[in-house]
């Protein structure tokens, strides 16, 4: 700007025009600023409105575990059922007053079940009486009489929400207890129902208090301002930020009803941190602190939750119970002062302990590894947007009790292995899956040693060489080519020449047995049970690699990557979940069942959106799968699985070890479940573990925690006693025998062990006698 002196020196005309120019400048820049401010306000309005609407209606998909089915005969005792109820947040209550409570009466358990919208129907809340007989349920009664079948409500195991580990349980206005909304206003914002988004008096009072004490004591923020802060702003306290906050609050107030704002606040406010998972909103907060739904909180618990808002870490009731209780009592008194609770209620509430659950969301089911699979399956049907905002309800196959047991088996066994074998602590990793063998539904999925850590999921993503776990497909192909389990095969040195174009490296391939020895002629069943490499390669080359690989592709739904004979010894990489699919063919009795985690998806109103039924395809003829399963049962009883304490409990299984002991595998099944375990290192270094010293030990612990159901056999098959070492027909009094399924035709051609009192060619002569 020019100075006055310089202006005077110039002509008046010039001076005049300059003044005009200056005035114009001021006018226009004023206009510009106003426009700018208006534009900014429009921008703020758009941002704040769209965010509010988006957040308000974006209800993340809720994911549920499989509910526990209760019926006469169900194998669960009173203590296990009680533990299951506690996991679901049911509270002991001698009067059984509200849904979500239970009571022990003698040997029976009385439960006030919560209402729940299941897939097929809504189950109203009701009281049931469960009687036990030993380790099983004897009968269940409700008000109307005996109930054949009823289920607990399923555990919520997670939800899908966009990015940054943020997670909410959205409540609608009618789901908010009146004490909470009134209490919030009384404590946090007394003028909420009247103000326009901010309160001059509040700000001035806060300013005054803060100035006088020299530090920040009071926020002076309205609920609306707190909501805005939670949406958009970080915690920096500058004037601009404060102004922006006030502007946004005013816009929100102008645009939306008070009730909507309050509900949004209740769904949004930050209430604490659980590891990497931020706890937002009272719905999730109630689960986190009290392990029960918001509607079941009592007066004291509502006050405790409100007390946390002021400072989730300062008033953390787990870490600073005295502080938290002091503030809770203050809030209870405000409740009473404002007439929200009666004097008697105040008395009772003040006497109550804080009542927060010692280990937050302990059984509260958060299984990131399983959730990966759920997400993977849903990706095929829903986009990210729908999953994180449409309020879908997803029913899954996981059984939390089993999941916890399998996770513990992995974690504990790996610790044991490291300390007993002097391996570096934390060097081993593991994965395990358990599925229902008939339906393919995944009951437990462990992706690493630490179940709650959302990291690399080895069960789904670690593709590792499978070693001997591949072998059943070779023996299956042999049976399908007309051999049987007692057919002889040579366990002798074999060299496969490069000139056949069958070697990966271009050199001759000379496989070895694990013990370095050759065992001569022996029956197929023994070659498989003892996992003899030479016999397997000889057999594989006899049947034909191409045919075996074709069979493998049928069973797992993809072509093998390794086209060379080393495939026969498991130089083929599969992930544990693919391995589960492979063994599912045998465990199910000859059906390919793709492992699955999702049962059904419902919309917000409980209407079915999609149903994911059992998918199965017969892949193996009954007699052949029966024979392979028999051989795998003998593998456990007499072969590489025999170190297991459960080897003779009617289970079938196979161990596997990749080159130089890098990967330790086990796959096994009983009558009901199929399981796969992998143990190894993330850097693929040598562990020194074989299938039976590593993965099988994990499985042993799984079996110890989850009783086995011995395999049943096909009724159509006859079993014949065969000498295990030689494959000759024999009897138990003259040889070490196994019983193998055999057709008459095969039986007649089978050589007999001398000295067993069985006459050769009996069948042939009998046929002759019958005139055939």
């Amino acid at each position: 700007m020019a100075t006055r002196k310089s202006k005077r020196r110039r002509t008046s005309a010039t001076s005049d025009s300059r003044w005009r120019l200056a005035a114009k400048f001021v006018l226009y820049s004023g206009l510009l600023v106003t426009l700018g401010v208006l534009g900014y306000l429009v921008y703020l309005d758009r941002t704040v409105t769209s965010t509010f609407d988006g957040r308000r209606w974006s209800i993340p998909a809720q994911v549920y575990a499989q509910p526990l089915e209760l019926h006469a005969g169900a194998a669960i005792d009173r203590f296990d059922l009680q533990a299951e109820l506690q996991r679901l947040g049911y509270q002991a209550d001698a009067n059984l007053r509200n849904p979500g409570t239970y009571k022990v009466r003698g040997d029976a358990l009385q439960i006030y079940l919560r209402a729940f919208q299941f897939m097929e129907r809504h189950r109203p809340s009701q009281r049931i009486d469960v009687r036990f007989a030993g380790a099983a349920i004897e009968a269940i009664y409700n008000e109307t009489g005996e109930v054949p079948l009823i289920r607990l409500d399923p555990a919520t195991i997670g939800s899908f929400f966009p990015a940054h580990g943020e997670d909410r349980l959205i409540l609608t206005p009618d789901q908010v207890p009146p004490l909470l909304s009134e209490g919030l206003k009384a404590v946090e914002d007394r003028n909420f129902d009247r103000h326009v988004g901010f309160s001059i008096r509040g700000i001035l009072r806060a300013l005054w208090v803060n100035l006088r004490s020299g530090e920040r004591q009071q926020g002076g923020s309205t609920l609306t301002q707190q909501l805005v802060k939670s949406y958009f702003l970080d915690n920096r306290r500058t004037i601009q930020r404060k102004l922006q906050e006030v502007a946004m609050a005013v816009i929100l107030e102008a645009r939306f009803a008070k009730e909507d704002l309050l509900t949004a606040y209740i769904n949004e406010i930050f209430l604490g941190q659980n590891g990497t998972r931020a706890i937002h909103g009272f719905g999730l907060g109630a689960l986190f602190y009290f392990n029960k739904p918001l509607s079941e909180l009592n007066v004291s618990e509502v006050a405790t939750m409100i007390s946390i808002i002021r400072g989730p870490s300062y008033y953390n009731p787990f870490r600073y119970p005295e502080r938290a209780q002091e503030r809770r009592d203050l809030i209870l008194n405000i409740f009473h002062r404002d007439g929200l609770i009666a004097a008697e209620q105040l008395e009772v509430a003040l006497q109550q302990p804080l009542g927060v659950i010692a280990s937050p969301i302990s059984g509260g089911a958060y299984y990131p590894a399983f959730m990966d699979r759920v997400r993977y399956e849903l990706q095929q049907y829903y986009d990210r947007e729908a999953l994180s905002s449409a309020g879908l309800r997803i029913f899954t196959t996981i059984q939390p009790r089993k999941q916890e047991a399998v996770q513990a088996a992995v974690s504990i066994t790996l610790n044991d292995l490291e300390s007993s074998r002097n391996l570096p602590s934390g060097s081993l990793q593991g994965a395990a899956l358990v599925a229902d063998s008939q339906t393919g539904e995944i009951l437990a999925l462990v992706g690493g040693r630490k179940g709650r850590v959302d990291g690399f999921n080895r069960a789904l993503s670690a593709r590792r060489p499978v070693g001997s776990l591949i072998k059943p497909v070779i023996y299956l192909s042999a049976l399908e080519a007309g051999m049987h389990l007692a057919s002889p095969i040579e366990d002798s040195a074999v060299t496969i020449q490069a000139k056949l174009g069958q070697s990966q490296s271009g050199e001759a391939w000379t496989p070895k047995n694990f013990d370095g020895a050759e065992h001569g002629s022996l029956p197929l069943v023994r070659a498989l049970a003892e996992s003899l490499n030479l016999a397997t390669v000889n057999l594989g080359m006899k049947i034909g690699l191409e045919q075996i690989q074709q069979r493998f592709a049928n069973l797992v739904g993809r072509e093998p990557a390794n086209r060379y004979p080393s495939f026969l010894l498991g130089a083929e990489s599969l992930s544990p979940v693919e391995m589960l699919e492979f063994y599912g063919n045998f465990a199910s009795g000859g059906f390919r069942t793709v492992p699955k985690a999702v049962i059904a998806v419902l919309d917000e109103q409980g209407k079915p959106v999609s149903h994911h039924p059992f998918a199965l395809q017969q892949t193996i003829q009954a007699d052949d799968v029966g024979a392979i399963n028999r051989a795998l049962e003998i593998t456990m009883a007499k072969g590489t699985g025999r170190s297991s304490p459960y080897a003779r409990h009617g289970v079938a299984g196979k161990t596997g070890t990749s080159n130089d002991n890098r990967d330790s595998w086990f796959a096994g099944f009983d009558n009901r479940q199929v399981a796969v375990v992998w143990v190894g290192r993330d850097d693929n270094a040598v562990t020194g573990l074989t299938g039976s010293t590593g993965a099988l030990r994990v499985w042993n612990m799984m079996a110890a925690r989850d009783p086995l159901d011995p395999l049943q056999h096909m009724p159509s098959q006859q079993l014949v006693e065969i000498e295990y070492l030689t494959g000759l027909r024999a009897r138990a009094n003259c040889a070490d025998v196994v019983r193998l399924p055999m057709t008459n035709e095969q039986l007649q051609r089978l050589p007999v062990k001398p000295g067993c009192g069985i006459r050769n060619g009996f069948g042939g002569r009998l046929r002759q006698w019958l005139g055939e």
Partner: protein
């Protein structure tokens, strides 16, 4: 799908065996050969398991007839109302409780057939056949497969299955 030995063969072979056993018993003194070591798999546990008391507690086997019966009834109602998807959901719930009950799988197959999902119907019937121990149930399952083949337009296969299984008396 059925490979080299059909179930008819197996059944016939078993009959043949019984015949053999009976004749052996009748003529025991006459020929005196050693009878083959043959047994029905369902009646005796395999030798490896014998004599080894389980180390772990084996929980009682589930007996759930009343529980699954209630779901079967619900499924019947749903089918009667033409709500086949609901019927399938009820039956799958029943299968989760008793996964080796062939009756449930066969009923599930019927629900798929009613819903004109013929591939699923066929696979569920095959599952029922694989699990069925009762000859009547097995025959019913084969005849249901004939019905599914018929619906698929495979008339000659349907015909052959019927001819084979209608003859098997209950």
């Amino acid at each position: 799908m059925f490979g080299r030995y059909s179930l008819v063969d197996t059944v016939l072979q078993l009959r043949y065996l019984y015949l053999v056993l009976i004749s052996l018993w009748l003529t025991a003194c006459g020929i005196n050969p050693t009878p083959p070591q043959v047994e029905d798999r369902t009646t005796q546990p395999p030798v490896e398991r014998a004599g080894e008391p389980p180390a772990a507690e084996v929980k009682p086997r589930q007996t759930t007839s009343a529980a699954t019966a209630s779901l079967l009834a619900a499924a019947e109602q749903a089918s009667a109302d033409n709500q086949h998807k609901d019927a399938i959901a009820y039956l799958e719930r029943a299968v989760r409780i008793e996964p080796r009950d062939a009756t449930l799988w066969l009923r599930l197959s019927a629900a798929y057939l009613a819903n004109r999902e013929l591939d699923a119907a066929a696979q569920h019937t095959r599952k029922a056949i694989a699990l069925a121990r009762d000859p009547d149930l097995q025959r019913d399952a084969w005849l249901q497969l004939a019905e599914i083949e018929q619906a698929r337009g495979n008339f000659s296969e349907a015909q052959a299955l019927r001819r084979q299984w209608q003859a098997v008396r209950s």
